[in-house]
Symmetry: C2
Subunit: 168 residues, 2 copies
DNA sequence: TTTAACTTTCAAATATTACTGAAAGTTTAT
DNA sequence: ATAAACTTTCAGTAATATTTGAAAGTTAAA
């Protein structure tokens, strides 16, 4: 397999993986493209390479910046904005975990906390099954939350720090 | 908040979380409904409670069974099939991790392995950035894969076993 | 073997999500 | 102040994913 074909496959695979995990395909593809680019790219270059519109490229790049996965770069004497991706896989994983925790896990925990408070007839199986499940899931969610929090600060923690060195 | 309202909210929240993570909303909702049901339910009951069609209910239930999250139950002297969900959160998490690894992580690792083999000019920054990124991601993916594998067998392993007791 | 209860299938309809592109907005150089 | 270079917005369009429902298929009792 030659490099150009390999690049395409990589972008495609990353896009597919993203879409299976609730990240919009194009966003994942732009990210993939930047991951394998030695130089920062312009909106123009991204548009052309991926055959996407200006609007799409722009929105996607802004979102990637919002996720902390991509940064702008300004070249001296140029008006154009250049974009590049952090290439440290560990940082990428951390960023994604951080954002998704904030956007999705935290709101669910808030609801589960509410639902844990519901009171009812403790002899009613309907009620008992409900509270049991809600409380169990709440507990799991909170443990995941706490663990993520620790992981995200792993560098400061001897225990997780040493576990996650394995991943790097 | 009263129980019926709480149930609705739970089903809604679970459905939303599912869809944010690439699991079809209805599937997550049916799962939620079964999670909070003390008794196994029929297709009919599920259809009515969630206002979904027979076809949808049937497909969704089969998929949930495929994920190992739901099981059929046959009641003596009845033709109807009843469905119930495993309510152990740890099992649920394990099943989901297991399925997604098989369906999504494994195929990506296969592609990354292919792409790691691509050869090229080691003085070409395009090539070098490509292989570096692919190899880094491949390494991370494989570590995640290995860790999941170990986790899924956690019960047999003193180290992870003791870590994951915390989650229960 | 017939029938009725029940389950499964799948083409078409609907709903959801993503994308386009032209126009409006912004910034910087002259 | 003007113009050129560039970025952002968003209404309309397109693509994708999900759902419906009626027909076909299956099973078990009589």
């Amino acid at each position: 397999m030659e490099l150009p074909e390999a690049k395409e496959k990589f972008i495609e695979a990353w896009g597919k993986l993203g879409s299976e995990w609730g990240i919009n395909r194009t966003m994942a593809q732009v990210h993939a493209l930047l991951l394998i680019s030695p130089e920062a790219l312009t909106t123009e270059e991204i548009m052309i390479t991926l055959s996407i519109s200006r609007g799409n490229a722009n929105m996607t790049l802004r979102e990637l910046i919002g996720w902390g996965l991509v940064q702008k770069q300004h070249k001296a004497g140029e008006r154009k904005e250049y974009f590049f991706a952090d290439k440290d896989t560990w940082n990428i994983a951390r960023q994604v975990a951080k954002e998704r925790r904030k956007r999705e896990l935290d709101p669910v925990i808030k609801i589960l906390d509410e639902l844990s408070k519901v009171e009812g007839d403790t002899t009613d199986p309907e009620f008992m099954t409900f509270t049991k499940s809600v409380k169990d899931i709440n507990k799991l969610a909170k443990n995941v939350d706490k663990t993520l929090d620790t992981m995200l600060k792993a560098e400061e923690n001897w225990f997780w720090g040493s576990i996650f060195k394995i991943f790097k």
